[in-house]
């Protein structure tokens, strides 16, 4: 895309493989402040390069699009910087002609989204990598809309993650990349992990192993790679996901990270008062279950989301 200063912003893609097989794409950075996908893409590119130079075959295609919103990533921003538009609310996008005007907003982000969407239409599997936001830390997980649950069930055992969250969603989700690709018949998984503006190496390592295992399942990688053990993720649904919200404002100091079993009553952190030195609230799980989300941003308002737990009876 040409900029107003007549330079170009590119949507860069790195491709591997002989083209004679299934096509897999990894996309990350639609939100410019989510960075784990960069590190994941680095590992994959490095692995695939070494694989090829060792003379082993990559049947089909592996495409890496690590920086899907480059202007935002360059500016350390989440949204399309020109107008603060969430690119993941712009799909399926537009082609930039008067016959196809943007539904709202300035326009350029919808054109960008349209180009990305069109590009990904021919793939057999797309993984859209997200790193939560500045506020919450997520254990590596797959998210999928209830109506595309079958896509998750086909692939989730080969993703190496602990959690698959099958959710019903408000109407705005209709405007995401994953929803539009799934609707267009391109199986798409959303992977969430970590927190915005940080790289969580151990989570990236988990998802990296998961992607290798997906590539084996698709028949793109085979031979010398040991068969990946299937993971058996917990399915989170609207029936068993519990939300823990704060009751007071203050700053939050967590006791633990995320991706653990917790017990009812177990403290996961405290909301503190900087002026008085008092503890305003002990934040404790109200359920036995699996803690898959925890507050990462220290500043909390009353009602801020502190944690999500999959209740396990």
């Amino acid at each position: 895309m040409k900029t107003p200063l007549q330079e170009k912003i590119g949507l860069f893609e790195s491709s591997f493989g002989d083209g004679a097989g299934k096509r897999f794409a990894l996309v990350s950075g639609i939100h410019g402040d989510e960075l784990d996908g960069l590190y994941l893409s680095y590992h994959l590119a490095r692995f695939l390069r070494e694989w090829e130079s060792a003379g082993k075959s990559i049947r089909g295609q592996v495409s890496l699009i690590p920086v899907a919103n480059p202007l935002a990533t360059a500016a350390t921003e989440r949204f399309w910087p020109f107008g603060q538009i969430d690119v993941n609310r712009c799909f399926p996008g537009t082609n930039g002609t008067a016959a196809d005007p943007p539904p709202q907003g300035e326009g350029a982000s919808h054109v960008w989204a349209g180009a990305l969407f069109e590009h990904l239409k021919g793939f057999d599997l797309v993984v859209d990598v997200h790193s939560s936001n500045l506020f919450l830390r997520e254990c590596p997980q797959i998210r999928v809309l209830n109506r595309y649950r079958a896509v998750a069930e086909t692939y989730a055992d080969h993703t190496n993650v602990d959690v698959v969250w099958v959710h019903d969603a408000p109407t705005v989700i209709e405007t995401t990349l994953s929803c539009n690709l799934n609707a267009a018949g391109v199986p798409t998984l959303v992977v969430e992990m970590g927190v915005g503006l940080r790289i969580q190496k151990e989570f990236v390592e988990i998802v990296f192993q998961g992607v290798l295992s997906l590539l084996q399942k698709l028949g793109i990688l085979s031979g010398a790679l040991p068969p990946a053990p299937p993971s058996r993720p917990i399915y989170a649904t609207d029936q068993n996901v519990r939300y823990l919200n704060s009751e007071s404002g203050g700053f939050f100091v967590p006791d633990i990270s995320v991706g653990f079993k917790v017990e009812q009553g177990q403290r996961i952190g405290r909301i503190l008062d900087a002026l008085s030195g008092e503890v305003k609230e002990d934040v404790a799980s109200r359920w036995n279950g699996y803690l898959f989300t925890i507050r990462a941003h220290p500043i909390v308002y009353p009602g801020s989301l502190m944690a999500r737990v999959i209740e396990i009876a």
């Binding site: 895309m1 040409k2 900029t3 107003p4 200063l5 007549q6 989440r78 949204f79 020109f82 107008g83 603060q84 609310r89 537009t94 082609n95 930039g96 002609t97 008067a98 005007p101 943007p102 539904p103 709202q104 907003g105 300035e106 326009g107 350029a108 919808h110 054109v111 500045l134 506020f135 408000p170 109407t171 705005v172 989700i173 209709e174 405007t175 919200n245 007071s248 404002g249 203050g250 700053f251 008062d273 900087a274 002026l275 500043i299 909390v300 308002y301 009353p302 009602g303 801020s304 989301l305």
Partner: protein
């Protein structure tokens, strides 16, 4: 001032402060009409119109506006994103959420959801709502009304604002979180008034919108004007032909930029353009040349015009009502 200020919500900030959200109610009868404003902290036209309305309605309720009587109630929410207004941020400053996409809200949820829930609860008795907005920060808007297509609404109500255009537009998935959509679902017609741009006050547009709202109050039986009473403000020649027009999505022509560059407008908001009339030029700010000429694809009234000059290919430059 005889307004009854009411705290609809008080938010405990993280460091021992409280942030209050106010509504002002005038009158005690029925029906109740609500005015909402200031969801976006960089918009000031709505604040100014609320200032004028609060001033005038105070005079009416105190008996200082001869010939005028308030029969119903008017509930005004002048600044629904006070932290954003204070900090000059469009969205809720802490998490950049759009309050006007957080409806219907959750009373014990995140802050923006609490604001939305409190506003909706506070609007439970209102019979219609007027939401005051500017264009996005890229546009200036000729004062007009936006209504969702699906809402059954007598045209006369919308036309009584004396604005040139009432745009019955499509809803989109994103807009399902807006106040207007949620009130419409509850059977409360909501007029979204768009006028002017962000980061400034457009006095002429504000004046027209203010007068238009008073006219709607009279038409809807909230306000009574005794025969022979003059207008609230001195009547000026209307800058546009009245009555206004109802337009549908097929009547709206979007003019998109064919190329990236810098937009320099040649036409002014409110012009009636013939087919082929010049709207502006796209120039190359670094190379010095002209990249393209932008002209009207069909005749129409220029009611949205790009105010931010920076263009990408596909950026919206103008909207015409054909």
């Amino acid at each position: 001032m005889s307004a009854r200020p009411e705290t609809i919500l008080s938010i405990e900030l993280p460091f021992n402060e409280n942030l209050a959200f106010y509504a002002f109610t005038f009158g005690a009868g029925d029906p109740e009409v609500a005015i909402t404003s200031g969801f976006y902290g960089d918009e000031y036209n709505g604040l100014y119109v609320c200032h004028k309305l609060i001033g005038f309605l105070s005079e009416v309720t105190e008996g200082r506006a001869a010939g005028w009587r308030l029969k119903g109630r008017v509930k005004i929410f002048p600044a629904l994103n006070p932290l954003g207004t204070m900090a000059h941020r469009r969205y809720w400053p802490f998490d950049q959420r759009d309050i006007n996409l957080s409806f219907p809200g959750v009373s014990m949820g995140e802050t923006t959801e609490r604001i939305a829930a409190a506003v909706l609860a506070s609007l439970r008795d209102c019979r219609s709502c007027i939401d005051l907005c500017c264009g996005s920060r890229f546009f200036e808007e000729l004062p007009h009304i936006r209504l969702y297509e699906s809402i059954a609404m007598p045209d006369e109500s919308a036309l009584s604002f004396n604005l040139p255009i009432v745009w019955r537009r499509h809803s989109t998935p994103l807009l399902t979180g807006s106040l207007a959509h949620n009130l419409n679902l509850r059977g409360v017609p909501t007029f979204v008034l768009k006028f002017g741009g962000t980061d400034r006050i457009d006095p002429l547009f504000c004046e027209r919108v203010y007068e238009g709202i008073l006219n709607y109050f009279v038409a809807s039986g909230v306000l009574e004007k005794r025969a022979g009473t003059g207008p609230a403000a001195p009547a000026a020649e209307s800058p546009w032909p009245l009555p206004g027009r109802i337009i549908w999505p097929k009547d709206v022509l979007s003019v998109l930029s064919p190329a990236a560059g810098l937009f320099v407008a040649a036409a002014a908001l409110g012009c009636r353009l013939e087919r082929g009339a010049l709207i502006g030029h796209i120039v190359d700010p670094v190379g010095g040349g002209r990249i393209a000429e932008v002209s009207a694809p069909a005749p129409g009234l220029l009611f949205s015009l790009r105010s931010n000059p920076v263009l990408y290919a596909g950026s919206l430059i103008a909207r015409l009502a054909g």
